[in-house]
Symmetry: C2
Subunit: 218 residues, 2 copies
């Protein structure tokens, strides 16, 4: 990760001349930066539905997906959520989003993590039923953004065929956005995506003996 | 990042005996996994407010913060948001969360990015006013979770003093959660936090000429 030492903020002993010089250097640096950014923006002018994947072992994959659902709802878009794997414990995001059934079509298809159910055949049947729901959304242009939470885990465990999933994703409406979360995203899915972030853990409260907190982890 | 080849899903030619064997191996692996996870959970029993930082150059830092705000709202917690730096364009998250003024106290203190304003003194004054708002939330135990969006950038640019920020964070109510986002989190802040994720870019739609999409990036 990039580590940068923060500059010290303006301290009282600085003279007005120092201050003016610093402000001027800042201004010309920002003018150059703006030109670079404006140029990059000018080059990126295409609009289309994107596939976003959040993967890796760090905290923030599902919460990032739910943040995008809320963003889309703020723009008046209809959203859909299918939660794979999770489902035994109702979460804060589920409680909240179920209050807006017109704006967010929320489905929880799992029955807790696979190490709780300990039944592979049943897990596969549940994952397939969840994908049927996901496919229905991918065929419906009224959905502006859909979130398939923990789909990567269902793929990693071999509960769903990655090629079938990619084919359904690629056949979706042009302007529909798809967010897919979970550890261990398969390479074929990464190749098919537009934006991919690996959420890399630096540290986690759990390791210091703090259990999962409502509002943060669930 | 961890890349794992997904297992092939069950294929028709498998016999019932193969199937039973695979299911049994899966079950005993999951029994062992459950024991390990249950043991870890038994060791993490402390409840307290946590500081979560999302940093790095990848997509998902702010959206993850907004996902946690929604989670907390789902659990009936009062939340607060202060957006540093951003502010010139109203975002989806702002439009949505302003609909719930009782559950989410939303403040946008910036005036767009620093390369747009090109005025360091004015940026510093705005950052200080934003931190006053943040400090008010950190002194009020009615807030269950607060999000300081892009605070890392204000620290990195030296607009705020990191030691002052850390002292205010540490003086907050015991059960209050704080989420801080933005590139370039200073090491002292990382040291003071409980959970830190570096959002590492694997690929980004922008590089393929796709501009920022409503619902995804804003």
């Amino acid at each position: 990760m990039t580590q940068e030492t923060p500059q010290t903020p303006q301290t009282p002993p600085e003279t007005q001349a120092d201050d003016d010089g610093r402000n001027e250097r800042h201004r010309s640096r920002m003018v150059r930066k703006k030109a670079l950014i404006d140029d990059k923006i000018a080059q990126a002018q295409r609009d289309c539905g994107v596939i976003v994947i959040t993967t890796g072992n760090g905290k923030g994959k599902s919460s990032s997906g739910f943040g995008m659902v809320v963003r889309a709802m703020g723009h008046g878009m209809k959203t859909g959520v299918v939660q794979f794997i999770k489902g035994a414990i109702p979460t804060g995001e589920e409680k909240f989003l179920r209050r807006f059934p017109e704006a967010c079509d929320f489905h929880v298809m799992g029955e807790g993590y696979t190490w709780e159910t300990q039944d592979r055949s049943r897990d596969i049947a549940k994952a397939e039923a969840a994908w049927d729901e996901a496919r229905r959304m991918l065929r419906d242009p009224s959905f502006g953004l859909v979130l398939f939470d923990e789909l990567n885990i269902a793929l990693k465990l071999g509960y769903l065929d990655v090629n079938t999933v990619i084919a359904d994703l690629q056949a979706r409406p042009d302007m529909q956005h798809v967010v897919i979360t979970g550890r261990g995203a398969p390479q074929a899915l990464i190749d098919a995506a537009d934006t991919v972030t690996d959420m890399t853990p630096v540290k986690h409260a759990f390791a210091q003996g703090i259990r999962a907190q409502a509002g943060v982890e669930m």
